[in-house]
């Protein structure tokens, strides 16, 4: 028999307490020798195995799972516009907000951010050159302007009734409401209606506008802490509209105003927030962090901030780098739209749900990006990333 192997097997079995050898004639010395040898061989074998098992214990192989989190709160979904079935005349409605997670990969994003062109109720000769080119021939008539905006991809149109400002034309509220009716006739997308920013006049304008567009679920832009917000809320509630809650880059003000509007009777799913958008290079960093905080606090459960965010990306054109003819900065016809695009990308990344914009090329780029970012765009075939070394 192979004594060594037999012993090895026996020693290797932990249950053994006693070793009995029967019918085996061996010399004692030989037996001792064999046992020692076998024991050594066994230890050696164990030693060889041990480091392997130790490393396996120490170094767990990393297995990737997406870091999905759960959130206490969620953002209200706000519906802009109303179809015939809901008491309006719009061709379709547009929904914004409604997130229950911070990131899209976490599964809680049902809507993608939207883009709205700005339309003004008077010509805007002060526009930078690259904007005059696109709008100069339609700005005499807001209805024509709105039609072109829709043609160029505006999912919602924003009509700014700035001529109502006593210091501009002091257009009476009734006349302003007529302008709105013209635009409602001209296009069938949902509308955002802005005032002039005059705190005394705006509530009066909004009252008439709300009445004239009863049931259309406009977004009235805007209520703020400096005007008679109750009047604005009353009109919105009575005639079925949404309200934009506008503050100046201050989270506490945003909470305060939202609470005041809710207390005045505005339902939660009828409020959209606008914390003010600074242009790229001119305060965009504050806007960025404020929107990030609004969205994160909403998901953490702050019930006063759980509403979609709308941004006046158009403000990008206030930056001199967007419009100034400065040869050392390169041609402004490219620089300007890119200034607006980058302002938009920044607020989108922070969590904005909608943007007012002005340059058609910027809008096209941003809409393509939004489609891709929401996984809706198939693109023009797969790209083999590795090919960039030889492919450019």
């Amino acid at each position: 028999m192979n004594l060594e192997r037999a012993l090895l097997e026996l020693i290797g079995t932990e249950e053994i307490e006693e070793l009995e050898l029967e019918n085996v004639k061996v010399d004692v010395d030989e037996l001792i020798f064999e046992i020692k040898r076998a024991a050594m061989a066994y230890q050696l074998a164990q030693a060889k195995q041990l480091p392997v098992s130790r490393t396996e214990e120490k170094k767990e192989v990393y297995a990737y799972t997406p870091p999905v989190k759960t959130y206490k709160g969620s953002v209200a979904e706000v519906c802009l516009g109303a179809t015939k079935a809901d008491g309006g005349t719009r061709g379709k409605v547009v929904k914004i907000g409604g997130q229950s997670t911070l990131y899209r990969f976490e599964g809680g994003h049902k809507n993608k951010p939207i883009v709205s062109f700005d339309v003004f109720d008077i010509p805007m000769p002060s526009f930078p050159k690259s904007l005059r080119e696109f709008w100069g021939d339609v700005w005499e008539d807001p209805a024509d302007w709105a039609k072109r905006a829709v043609k160029l991809g505006s999912e919602v149109v924003t009509l700014h009734l700035i001529s109502t400002d006593p210091r501009i034309k002091d257009t009476p509220p009734k006349e302003a409401a007529k302008t709105l009716e013209d635009v409602l006739q001209a296009v069938d997308v949902p509308l955002i209606v802005g005032g002039s920013g005059n705190p005394d006049k705006d509530p009066m304008v909004f009252e008439k506008v709300a009445e004239a567009a009863e049931g259309e679920m406009l977004l009235i832009a805007s209520a703020n802490l400096d005007l008679d917000y109750k009047k604005v809320v009353d009109a919105a509630v009575k005639y079925k509209h949404n309200v934009l809650s506008f503050t100046s880059m201050n989270i506490t003000d945003q909470q305060t105003l939202n609470r005041l509007l809710f207390d005045a009777g505005l339902p939660k799913e009828r409020l959209v927030q606008d914390p003010t958008t600074g242009a790229l290079g001119y305060g965009l960093d504050y806007t960025y962090s404020i929107i990030e905080r609004l969205k994160q606090n909403a998901l953490k459960g702050d019930e006063l901030l759980q509403n979609p965010v709308f941004c006046g990306v158009t403000n990008a054109w206030a930056a001199r780098e967007a419009w100034m003819n400065e040869p050392s900065w390169g041609p402004r016809e490219y620089r300007g739209p890119l200034w607006e695009i980058l302002t938009a990308i920044t607020v989108i990344n922070a969590g904005a749900d909608g943007m007012m914009m002005l340059h058609p090329k910027a809008v096209k780029t941003v809409k393509n990006l939004l489609a891709a970012a929401s996984g809706e765009d198939e693109g023009d075939g797969e790209l083999r990333y590795e090919d960039w070394l030889g492919g450019v």
Binding site: E292, G330, L369, G379
Partner: protein
């Protein structure tokens, strides 16, 4: 991630208040460490005394940011501690590398590198510049790559990225430029052993590239670090559109969340973006530059610590560098300047009085424009609660009453012998109200302060 408090750090300091570090106490030193104003080795006792060895080790561990700092040549990337800038601040701005390749004729190669080196635009007192050159092996020919690297290496002292999947080509580049510590692009699942050898031999940081595959990236980083590589940069692939863009956009957030919030060390490295992939399917240079800038902005906002761009056009780099300046501005620094009258140049009693808001960016822009137009004047800064003029107008923070208060407080009537106030063009709406309220004559200035020089010359004769 929760911020580290000074108290947490203090526990690992000697606590003797020996002042050797130059701070007023150990607690003050702890704060300085958090602010990154001081480095840990400024604490001499901690570094030298054996009794503190354990504390020192723990403190180093505590202070090591979840995203490792990596140095490429002399540019530092990574080192970030938070996902969101409002939680603390971001530290090392995304580094911009401009692409050149080994098929370029020498003349255009030098022209492009010159442009990168000389690029400089001053915005609000800061110089916006580019960080380095990415040298790409397009031909896959070691000789050509060597020539290209050499002609840049000999003439320009700038940080490099050497780009090829072929270890032999990377080696040729390293033989020339290794002492500048270039970043090696890239180790992949197929070539990592050879590239790791090169990185170790020359002590260079290396990109771990695993397009679209986070598990693959983890395995690759694991292999690299098992082989002694410490300085790694992550590459999850760059895509300008389609479903691949969607995945990239989410993956970038996932990588940083895993590194910072989940403290997964395999992803605790800076991330590289290659927005120049936008050029792969776009022949038109303007359209390609536009797409590249769009992708670069997305990647900059989604945690990329270094970018490789193809276009050297100012019209696209200026917006991108401005975005970088915005995002990497420390949010803890106040956004407003003090209200009151500022003296520009050497004004006398006939000098003009101009008005602006106390929003820091507005103030510095106006001040810069006044200085460059060499006008002597008084600049009256009104408290608009830190808002720019247009925003302040919309929010009723720039009012006639506020202007009156500012004029009186600054005692301007003791300084000038006239009552003429130049207000920003964007505040034109309230010019009448200001006149009524203050009794000063109001002159509406230009919409943008860049035109202030010509305006004053015309209206004031200065």
């Amino acid at each position: 991630m929760a911020k580290i408090s000074p108290l947490q750090i203090y526990k690992f300091l000697p606590g003797t208040n020996c002042l050797e570090c130059g701070e007023s106490s150990c607690m003050a030193f702890a704060s300085a460490l958090i602010e990154r104003k001081k480095k840990i080795d400024a604490c001499v006792p901690l570094m030298e005394k054996k009794e503190y060895a354990e504390k020192k080790e723990k403190l180093i561990d505590l202070l090591t940011p979840p995203v490792k700092e990596i140095t490429i040549g002399n540019v530092v990337i990574g080192g970030e501690e938070v996902m969101y800038r409002h939680d603390l601040t971001y530290f090392n701005p995304t580094a911009f590398f401009i692409d050149v390749d080994d098929s370029m004729p020498r003349e255009s190669l030098i022209e492009k590198v010159e442009k990168v080196r000389n690029f400089k635009i001053t915005r609000i007192g800061q110089e916006l510049t580019l960080d380095g050159i990415a040298i790409r092996s397009k031909t896959d020919d070691p000789t050509k790559f060597g020539e290209t690297v050499l002609s840049i290496y000999e003439n320009y002292y700038m940080p490099f990225i050497l780009c090829s999947y072929n270890p032999e080509i990377l080696e040729v580049g390293l033989e020339i430029a290794a002492e500048r510590k270039p970043l090696l692009y890239a180790a992949t699942r197929d070539n990592w052993e050879a590239v790791a050898d090169l990185a170790l031999k020359h002590g260079c940081p290396v990109v771990a590239s695993s397009p679209g595959d986070i598990q693959g990236l983890a395995d690759l980083v694991q292999n690299l670090s098992d082989n002694g590589i410490k300085d790694i940069v992550l590459d999850i692939g760059s895509y300008p559109g389609g479903k691949q863009f969607y995945e990239m956009n989410e993956n970038l957030a996932i990588l940083r969340r895993l590194a910072i919030e989940e403290r997964e060390k395999l992803f605790g490295y800076p991330i590289l973006g290659v927005p120049m992939v936008a050029w792969m399917k776009e022949k038109d240079a303007v359209k390609a530059t536009m797409k590249e800038a769009t992708l670069a902005a997305v990647q900059l906002l989604r945690y990329c610590d270094a970018l490789i761009l193809h276009s050297p056009e100012t019209w696209s780099l200026l917006p991108l560098l401005t975005l970088r300046q915005n995002i990497y501005t420390d949010p803890r620094v106040p956004i407003s300047v003090e209200a009151g009258a500022r003296v520009i140049g050497s004004p006398d009693e006939n000098s003009p009085v101009l008005l602006t808001s106390n929003f820091a960016l507005t103030y510095y822009t106006v001040e810069g424009d006044l200085q460059s137009s060499k006008v002597s004047c008084y600049l009256l800064v009104v408290d608009t609660e830190g808002l720019a003029v247009e925003v302040a107008m919309a929010g009723n923070k720039l009012t006639a009453a506020g202007v009156k208060e500012a004029l009186e407080e600054a005692k301007l009537l003791e300084k000038v012998n006239h009552k003429k106030l130049i207000i920003p063009g964007r505040a034109a709406r309230i010019s009448g109200e200001i006149e009524e309220e203050t009794g000063w004559e109001v002159i509406v200035g230009p919409i943008d302060s860049s035109r202030i020089g010509g305006f004053l010359e015309e209206k004031w004769g200065v």
